[in-house]
Subunit: 359 residues, 2 copies
Amino acid sequence: MKAVHSLTAAALLGLGSGAVAAEDAMLERAQMLFEPIPQSAADHIGDRNPITPEKVELGKMLFFDPRLSASQTISCNTCHNVGMGGDDNIPSSVGHDWQRGPRNSPTIFNAVFNVAQFWDGRAEDLTEQAKGPIQAGVEMNNTPSNLEATLNSIDEYVGAFEAAFPESENAVSFDNTAKALEVYQATLITPDSPFDQYLKGDTDALTDQQLAGLDAFMNKGCVACHNGVNVGGQGYYPFGVINRPGADILPEADRGRAQVTETAADEYVFRSPSLRNVELTAPYFHSGNVWSLREAVSIMNDAQLNSLLTEEDVDNVTAFLRSLTGKQPEVEYPVLPISTDETPMPDIPDYPRPTGAEG
Amino acid sequence: MKAVHSLTAAALLGLGSGAVAAEDAMLERAQMLFEPIPQSAADHIGDRNPITPEKVELGKMLFFDPRLSASQTISCNTCHNVGMGGDDNIPSSVGHDWQRGPRNSPTIFNAVFNVAQFWDGRAEDLTEQAKGPIQAGVEMNNTPSNLEATLNSIDEYVGAFEAAFPESENAVSFDNTAKALEVYQATLITPDSPFDQYLKGDTDALTDQQLAGLDAFMNKGCVACHNGVNVGGQGYYPFGVINRPGADILPEADRGRAQVTETAADEYVFRSPSLRNVELTAPYFHSGNVWSLREAVSIMNDAQLNSLLTEEDVDNVTAFLRSLTGKQPEVEYPVLPISTDETPMPDIPDYPRPTGAEG
């Protein structure tokens, strides 16, 4: 995969119109390989679960409501923090009873554009995905029936579900909870990054170093797994195809997609993550043990590209990746309706309280 | 404390102009005992820590930033949720390593108007208060030096501190963190409740039952401890002055203000809580074990008023308390700056991760 239209080469040779032609060719190639984040994900979800204002509003309440968890202390936003790039910036999330999740929490931003959800792609869309953490013992540790009882005990939620799902006989349901969450999360997208401005024809939107990084990214292999609207998130690939990283980065016990498909060929295969807003989502990889973006690029270079990238390329690709940070969603914090006498109690394992102490 | 200007009595007697006179007299008495929440707390804080837009903006970032905690997973908003009445609606908060706090988390809304902070008043203002949870082992478990190192590692925070505290030589400090938090929290006030509209002269703002409740509240003793702008929060009183509640409500080990003053007379003395937005802040009391507002009123009636309130009074006072819910703050979620290579790592006790599992 040798660079054909290398900007660096053209620039070094000082070609006048040749350099412009190379720039044009690179933009054209980028436009073939990637797409800008659109201003709305409505077309992407389509008729399966149409985006309506009522569903967005309900989904937002649910997203921020800690009563989705058994302890009533953990909300979706706890691990997919809208102020922190849509994730929690720790190796793996802290859930019910301070248990640790097995994999790094992926960003919710632009997740709607991924081909499937979770690191192993076991949920085909965000509706199916939403049902996972709510029930996972190490995350929210809730049950569909307890959640439905909670929501049914609060009139304002019942009304919001009926407004969002007028066609449903039982509007307040676990399924509709997940659907509303999908629709709200589909609004958490980040258009207008410098790279998107570039893709739309503004060749000044990237710095020279970022352009050099894009050149290496496209011509030295990264793009094979990281392409499309999300610069990744579109397919499944073995991690460590050339050199397997150490156990801190690729723990032996987590066999990735093989655990979903029960197929030997899927051992240590993962869905390539989106690189959108990647500078905001450290630490990196499913194991979440790498904090530096440059180091993550370097590890990928070794594991996947047989070190085809030079040290300078690694610098440049890292700079390019920082151009993928888009406009962060503007979120007004929802005012949540209060619990009632019928609301199930929070289930908090009975740690003794310190006695006679402050608070 | 017999009712002198009793609306109920006047209404029952069907007095025409007499009823109007009684209504006027009740409003006048209420205006002497209470004050509406102002639109700004600027006058209240005054020159001690002036409210500036730069401090509000910085304080908001800090309030929502989980990096104030050692684990980098717990923010002020975790236990003082701006979407849930400014508290967390569980008996006592879940903190570092899933430890439980000793007392129910008080609402941050209108806290700026309290005479002092914490259930025992041991912090004289919100600046001093903010330093408590950040360092408490069962809450955020952080240290001033680790927090300062965190903030100093992030250029955007350094700039925000310098803009907020131009007079400080070392703008990024634990003290200034607390000051910025105080200023932001001083914006979390809830004016324009029905009761405030009533205090401003709109006698239709309360229902007949709420008016009857206000009448009982003022004339049967509640007002002795719950008065002023916050309908409470202004002084210290023994809990169980007539009848001591059971140990689930008044645990023996927590001697209240006596632990601060080391004075026998302060045994089981607490700062009376504000009743502003009280319908949003269940469960009730410092022990947080009473979920029903009516039951809380009933317990106070027994413990403090020698059951002077009739069952109907208890209903009416409960209805009146619901008129104390004001306009909830409109909060746009802040976009937080990212950590850097110099930012201290999150300190999460090393619970083993489930292996080979989902995520």
